[in-house]
Symmetry: D2
Subunit: 145 residues, 4 copies
């Protein structure tokens, strides 16, 4: 992928992040964005714990959904989630540094499929997420980036 494409993807990432109140609320960071790829991170705080004292799967999902959203918008074509599926091979715990890596599995016409793997600081997988998106009209940033 060309240097130009990477630059557009980064502009898209920055543009979404600037307007993204939820990422500030949860402390989600965009670590890297390229065409069809995004890596996000988040630390599990005490507010994120459920009744079992473990990270509520909803926050892990939110992080994974972010990596999906940034990856599927990285081509600077607006896209929305159609369907998301998640499973949790292991629990995330207080203080864990979670990394979500979203990769494009398939994209054709107005449809795309993305897999996100969320792992903790030890590389243990805590969530496996698959999302389908639909490309809609419009761009995230101006055509000139």
């Amino acid at each position: 992928m060309s240097g130009h494409s990477v630059t557009v993807a980064e502009k898209v990432g920055r543009a979404i992040m600037e307007r993204d109140a939820s990422s500030r609320f949860l402390g989600v960071s965009l670590e890297e964005i390229r065409p069809g790829y995004a890596r996000m991170s988040m630390t599990v705080t005490a507010e994120m714990l459920n009744g079992l004292g473990m990270c509520h799967g909803g926050f892990t999902y939110t992080l994974a959904d972010d990596a999906f959203a940034y990856a599927c918008n990285s081509h600077n074509r607006n896209a929305v989630a159609v369907n998301c599926t998640i499973s949790y091979p292991a629990a995330a715990r207080l203080g864990d540094r979670l990394i979500a890596e979203g990769v494009e599995v398939h994209r054709k016409g107005r449809s795309g499929t993305y897999d996100v793997t969320v792992a903790n600081q030890d590389g243990e997988v805590v969530a496996l997420f698959r999302g389908q998106c639909r490309v809609i009209d419009g761009h995230v940033v101006g055509e000139d980036g």
Copy 2:
């Protein structure tokens, strides 16, 4: 369902909610719990908005996942999520009062399937969620409730 069962389900709900930091963080309330059923609510705040100015699907998911978790633990048998799927027929917006209603579709042996519908204050459906759980050893509250 017997009055006794309802009481145990309510005790389960109260016990989980007491320890549930995430529900306090997001303002999630348990409205009703019965065997195989839970209804939860949450108001969309400014912190929950994504880069498009709409409620991040992760918070809607979290609410739905709560209704699932409370419903599948309502029999006072510990249960964990195996797989969750969600789609978003409409966007949730700032100030929306979301109601998530979780119902048991099927339960047999150590497996259960639950559907959660999340609607806004106008009854518009903003999320359709299906979760599978696996029953593990142990109880949420003492056998005597």
Copy 3:
């Protein structure tokens, strides 16, 4: 729903079934079709058994997918599958008479969600299926039915 709508749904069902080689191949019958609803049946034959001597989940899926397809086309608007999810609470066995009942959970604009429950002759649930469809241009039968 009006008698007229029911009639159109039945015409749609008959029109698809006439061209449907796979249903003849597997012995799938359309038992009932109404707007947003279809019920199909199939008997598990020896050819459908997998290496464990039980009905291959693929045939159960095929029956469920049929109920989904007929239900989501019942409004006489062409529709295609976007995503399907299935789980198997119990095994289907040789000679079982399977009934798949597909119901419309939600439909709005060009999107729809359908749940299909597949049960055997004793009412035991052997599959839980959820499908999302997307409505595309065109009709199954002429506008006049």
Copy 4:
């Protein structure tokens, strides 16, 4: 992975295939099996066409599910499907030679997740499948292979 493991996986594949009536019925072949991996193929016949004249998604699913089943049993530990999700980026057509490639995404304890991609003879992807399995007691072939 050692030569020994590969041999056991192949013995598992042969043992399941010998008893697998459904694969003979649909003309499904096992092309390759290794620990955590299986590749299957099938040609779309006239009997597999639906009312639209295209391959019924149920047969594509069946092929994908086979690749999943063989891959998740390849370690010679009995495993059963917990949940399967599929989407169809393109239609499969009469005469298409479909190849399903199943790979292990994650496996830990008694749970595993497998992704299957089904492509036609031109490499066009016609289905994306994800399956979760649960390992149960017992082995497919004797411990000595």
